[in-house]
């Protein structure tokens, strides 16, 4: 068997925590799915500013590939780049974090390599089979992946982040990646700007639902509590659909999966699709005016109250701590 490759996601000249999580999962894949070294696959139009940080991720080698066509990690060329890196470094397994980029590229790479693929992996068993959720987390499947080549995307809440250690050698892969004739064109990116912690990395998350009733109330009622707690803000699908907050705050089956130390759900009923994204939080507290709200059944602490009274009161008292 060969080695294990990790997709180095990066943005704004940084490697996110998700990449460090993928390294940990890759080490498990090396230990339980056939051995080998863990190699980081780092590519883009210019990755020179990232190699130092990449080398500290506890991998045995950083393999780089640069091409102007790789600037945005468009899935088709990104898959071609990873395939080339995998071949050059003798990797037969490739691990991604289940981020939007990881989900965009990983299946395409599986297609290019002829590899089996499992997404949202939450565990790797000693016999090499994997665990993954299905049916919005109502079932966990033990899955056997066939063939010598395997591609995995892993849940970032299910593996620890690799701590900085060592400094791995950096080796450029000599492959020529150019944009295909039918390449997509990037037009623009509208990034949600926020000084708060990243939702998927935060120790505390305060999430709001339809109960907030407007975007303005998110700003005036919920955000002061979010900031008093130094938390990240999350939301239910209903709140996003109603336009109260941007799409990237959605927590759930089809949004982000989070597992902070403290998750406070405010005006969220607790639909299974929402629970799928936050049920693994260490402590869950919820505020809802409906005593029958299903969110209470999975909450460590529930408070039946009108959020428009309870949240400002809690904000003031938290500030006084």
């Amino acid at each position: 068997m060969g080695n294990v490759l990790v997709y180095a996601e990066h943005a704004h000249g940084k490697l996110p925590k998700a990449t460090a999580v993928a390294v940990t999962a890759a080490k498990e894949a090396a230990a339980k799915m056939g051995g080998g070294d863990v190699i980081l696959g780092l590519f883009g139009s210019d990755v020179s500013g990232l190699t130092d940080a990449a080398g500290k991720l506890g991998v045995s080698k950083v393999a780089t590939l640069e091409s102007p066509a790789l600037e945005h990690h468009a899935a088709d060329v990104a898959a071609a780049a990873l395939k080339a890196i995998a071949e050059a470094t003798d990797c037969d397994r490739v691990v991604f974090a289940s981020t939007s980029k990881g989900k965009d590229i990983a299946p395409r790479l599986a297609g290019a390599m002829g590899a089996s693929i499992a997404t949202d992996v939450t565990g790797i068993n000693d016999d090499g089979s994997i665990e993954r959720p299905m049916y919005a987390g109502n079932a966990f499947a033990t899955v056997e992946m066939h063939g010598d080549k395997k591609v995995l995307t892993v849940r970032t809440t299910a593996f620890e982040a690799q701590a900085d250690e060592g400094s791995a050698a950096v080796e450029a892969v000599g492959a020529d990646i150019s944009a295909p004739a039918n390449a997509i064109q990037f037009v623009s990116v509208e990034e949600t700007k926020s000084d708060r912690p990243v939702l998927t990395e935060a120790e505390r998350v305060v999430a709001g639902g339809r109960g907030l009733k407007s975007g303005e109330n998110f700003t005036t009622v919920l955000e002061p509590l979010v900031d008093a707690l130094g938390a990240a803000m999350g939301a239910s699908r209903a709140a996003v659909d109603a336009g109260y907050v941007p799409n990237d705050l959605q927590v759930g089956q089809t949004g982000k999966v989070v597992a902070p130390t403290l998750y406070i759900a405010v005006g969220i009923s607790g639909a299974i699709q929402h629970l799928a994204g936050m049920k693994d939080s260490k402590v869950i507290a919820s505020i809802n005016k409906d005593p029958e709200a299903p969110i209470f059944q999975i909450s460590d602490f529930g408070l039946v109250a009108d959020l428009f009274e309870a949240v400002p009161e809690m904000t003031e008292k938290v500030k006084g701590l």
Partner: protein
């Protein structure tokens, strides 16, 4: 233009899913089967393209057993023109993608609009895998779609981790729909009547020459770990106090 929409039959999102005692599937009694919500959104988008004045034929395709006829009829009742049922196991993303590649070869659509994710396996794989197998570009997780350049390309807004990204994708392409692309219509009564007479072709997967060997085997299903909850507090003060002293998270 021809729009191909792959759809999947799945349990309704409102149904509570339980693992069966044998641990090899779900309890099917009482489950209502529907068109996967993301596929419904894909159908709706195809209908809106046609209604915007583009001359279009909308073809639905599903891989599954004859039970899936019901979901194809639902899509036809919404307004799609015809449907194809390929009888094969519908659970392996590789098998589904290989079969869809054959159907695309046969039908030569100008665009494929599909769901980003099936809510049973929650894989989020088939669209991207298919795009690679046939060498088409992809626009995944989209919340806006607009034809451009005399229908030779489409501008798509994608929901990504940090916000929204706009790309222009040349056609033919694989497009996968996210939740906020549109709100699907219900089938009307006349729509349901008309759907009965619309063509629904059945093809045996074996006749397509696709490799039907699965790449994954689900060995067992287990229910999720139970989370103990349900303790109520009486006031904000008590909530803060328990978070501080018991949970030690404040």
């Amino acid at each position: 233009m021809k729009i191909l929409v792959p759809v999947k039959r799945v349990p309704d999102a409102e149904t509570t899913i339980k693992v069966n005692p044998e641990g090899n599937g779900i309890v099917e009694a009482g489950v209502k089967w529907v068109v996967n919500p993301f596929c419904e959104i894909a159908i709706e988008e195809a209908l809106r393209i046609k209604e915007s004045g583009v001359e279009a034929e909308i073809v639905l395709v599903t891989i599954g057993t004859s039970d899936s006829q019901e979901q194809l009829r639902t899509g036809l009742a919404m307004g799609a023109d015809r449907a194809i049922l390929v009888t094969a196991d519908n659970s392996d993303p590789w098998v589904v993608a290989r079969v869809l590649a054959k159907i695309i070869e046969k039908e030569s659509p100008d665009v494929v609009i599909m769901g980003k994710q099936a809510i049973d396996d929650d894989s989020n794989v088939v669209g991207q895998l298919l795009a690679e197998l046939i060498g088409w570009p992809q626009a995944t997780f989209i919340s806006e779609f607009k034809l451009e350049d005399g229908n030779a390309a489409a501008t798509c807004v994608r929901e990504i981790d940090g916000g929204l990204e706009t790309i222009k994708v040349p056609l033919p392409a694989i497009i996968t729909a996210d939740l906020r692309l549109n709100e699907p219509r219900y089938a009307s009564l006349p729509g349901i009547m008309k759907a009965r007479k619309k063509p629904l072709e059945e093809i045996d997967a074996g006749s397509l020459g696709a490799d039907l060997t699965p790449m994954l085997t689900v060995k067992s299903l287990t229910p999720p770990a139970e989370r103990k909850g349900g303790r109520m507090v009486e006031s904000v003060d008590e909530l803060i106090s328990v978070l501080q002293t018991e949970a030690k998270v404040l």
